[in-house]
Amino acid sequence: MQEIDVQKIRQENKQTRDYMIDMLIMLSATTIMAVFHYGIRSLIMVATSIATAVLCESSIDLLRKRNPHRIGDLSSIFTGAAIALMLPASAPIWLAPIGSVFAIAVAKLPFGNARTTPFVPAAAGFAFLTLSYRELVFTYPSVRADVKGLVTGQEGFVSGISVANMLSQKTSIGTGIINMMDLFVGKVPGPMGASCLFVMFGLFMYMLVRRSSEWITSAGFLAACSILAVVFPRVLTGRSISLVMELSSGVLFFSAIFFISDPITSPKSQMSRVIYGFAGGVLTMIFRYFGEFEEGVCFAILIMNALSSYFETLGEKINNRLNNKEYKPKDKKEKKQKKSKNEKDTPKDERGYSL
């Protein structure tokens, strides 16, 4: 029988809880901007998706006859809020709950709990929504001055062209954007929690102060995106404008802060984290340049999550090369022993073939 360290599990749970508290504080800033631009309807969307996520996790735990104490991780609240904030404000209210149910029932709980998931569940949920409801996810409403406050229905919104859509069509700057100030404040049609650049930069600095070890991955990610945006611009008017437009469009900055810096799915050493983030940025820009959708960040993040163990070994190799040491994998002998044991154990057919 294996022995279970209760204290170790409690420490790990406390680590995730602390990280999720920081993330929720950061998400609250973006929800405030969403309420400021699009009214109370956005807050209702966020609340419904959080409620469905928590209900889904607790009900599945009760079905499996386990104590639903894992909600104390606050990770389900984080996934629900993040999925809702990436959607447009004019989306129907049932859209975000579907994404959160997929994220928890398919991407998170089959793999265990929040500490053992190989994928970021919120990214998986948003990827599912983009694949299945493409028109609803990518039609963004325009921000109007008279909408503020009490619009709860879907009728008050007028559809506008988002920045990501402009970039994907490879046209020059549309007639809608005259001030660059609108881009920084987030008065441009876009996802309701992610379009304001000022708030995003503020959260980026907050992360540097509070979570410097996780901040490195997002910095590498943004560096790769900005370099590619400057070198290969999709806008005719200039390289600096293309940089601002690429960073402010879509969910790029949002996912750089919240998803790729996730300490559970990303590799653990600092060197490998930088490389991991940089490769993720290159992949997202490739998805943007050649992909089918306007926004391919979530697919890139899911692929990078699958490759994270490879990046860990690569980072260790580079570290050892810099320190003039030879790379020695730790568990090579143990793995060989395991393999030999397994070969003996496999049951065999009458003819001697393994089943």
Binding site: V106, F128, Y133, P347
Partner: protein, 340 residues
């Protein structure tokens, strides 16, 4: 190895003749389900069974190809060498698939276009070669036919269930008619949706055999290549241990059966079953009693038959192997806990 096991085979294979069509169907279609347990032939299930109609078209042709190729191997192809047989299986498949495609293109032209390349790819379905090599080559024509029907029905059941789920939630229709789902999740019609649905179905089957019907859990685990602690499921059957541990019980008919053993074993099982229905006992207890009785009879036969020396030598080997295997399993379970 083959010579040593021959005597126990004779004992075990007696049950195969007593086993009816139902038990064969149960073991091949559910306990050893080709898709959910041993994951064979995933390609058409994942890629193309997006609607109920296409799933039924595919399942019909799996029935035809399986029955044709297995009966043909059992009747004619037994004496061919192995490397020619594997090529001949695909030729058998082609002989069925080509006229089927020409016939169905007149009935369902649009659906056949939607099936595309995946229907001709069924000729090299690994399920056909596997079943032919494992079962049909060694067995009689009748048993090959029964096995083909059962394994094909297990395959087609999964096809139809995935097709139905994906058509309802993926495109909001049943057999082409609309139902009251305004915004279906079209992502389920992609291949990854098929993988997710198959995964949940496999989990449901595993859960059923673990919690509700634990008699077949070990066999299911062996066929899905998962190492599992055998004593966990086998505590009650202390009498039948020696046969259970070393080989998975596959019931295959064999020509070389002695007549003396036949007469003694034929009688008791079926009569007892009929009598026990009156008592209205639960199924698990019945099965346990039957297994105990079979084991007791096996012991009698061991002493009556002339091959006692072989059995003794084998049992010693088994005892040595069994003890070592158990210890290794214990160590493995401790080590295999996933680390993050």
């Amino acid at each position: 190895m083959r010579k040593q096991k021959s005597s126990i085979d004779k004992v075990v294979k007696k049950e195969s003749e007593a086993s009816s069509f139902k038990t064969e169907m149960f073991t091949e279609a559910i306990v050893q389900n080709p898709v959910l347990v041993s994951t064979i032939g995933l390609c058409p299930v994942v890629a193309i069974s997006t609607t109920l109609k296409s799933a039924i078209l595919l399942s019909v042709i799996t029935y035809l190809t399986m029955i044709f190729s297995q009966v043909l191997t059992a009747s004619l192809l037994k004496k061919f060498p192995q490397w020619t047989r594997v090529a001949l299986y695909t030729l058998c498949g082609m002989a069925i698939v080509a006229p089927y495609m020409l016939f169905m293109q007149k009935l369902f032209p649009e659906d056949m276009i939607a099936l595309g390349i995946y229907l001709p790819l069924l000729t090299i379905n690994p399920l056909i070669t596997r079943q032919c090599e494992r079962v049909a080559v060694k067995s009689t024509v009748k048993h090959a036919f029964v096995n083909a029907v059962s394994s094909a029905s297990g395959y087609s059941a999964v096809l139809i269930m995935t097709g139905l789920v994906r058509e309802i939630f993926g495109s909001g229709k049943i057999w082409g008619y609309n139902i009251f789902i305004n915004h279906p999740a079209t992502a389920l019609t992609n291949p990854f949706g098929g993988f997710i649905i198959i995964g949940f179905m496999a989990v449901a089957l595993r859960w059923y055999f673990k919690k509700i019907d634990p008699q077949y859990a070990e066999e299911l685990a062996i066929h899905s290549r998962t190492s599992i602690k055998k004593s966990r499921y086998n505590k009650d059957k202390t009498s039948n241990e020696k046969i259970d541990e070393n080989e998975p019980q596959r019931f295959e008919p064999n020509k070389e059966i002695e007549k003396d053993i036949d007469k003694k074993e034929e009688k008791p099982e079926l009569e007892i079953k009929e009598n026990q229905v009156v008592d209205q006992e639960p199924e698990i207890e019945k099965n346990q009693e039957i297994s105990e009785k079979v084991a007791a009879e096996n012991k009698k036969i061991e002493f009556t038959s002339q091959e006692l020396e072989e059995l003794m030598s084998k049992s010693l080997d088994d005892i040595i192997n069994g003890t070592t295997n158990e210890n290794q399993n214990d160590v493995d379970l401790g080590e295999e806990v996933p680390e993050k």
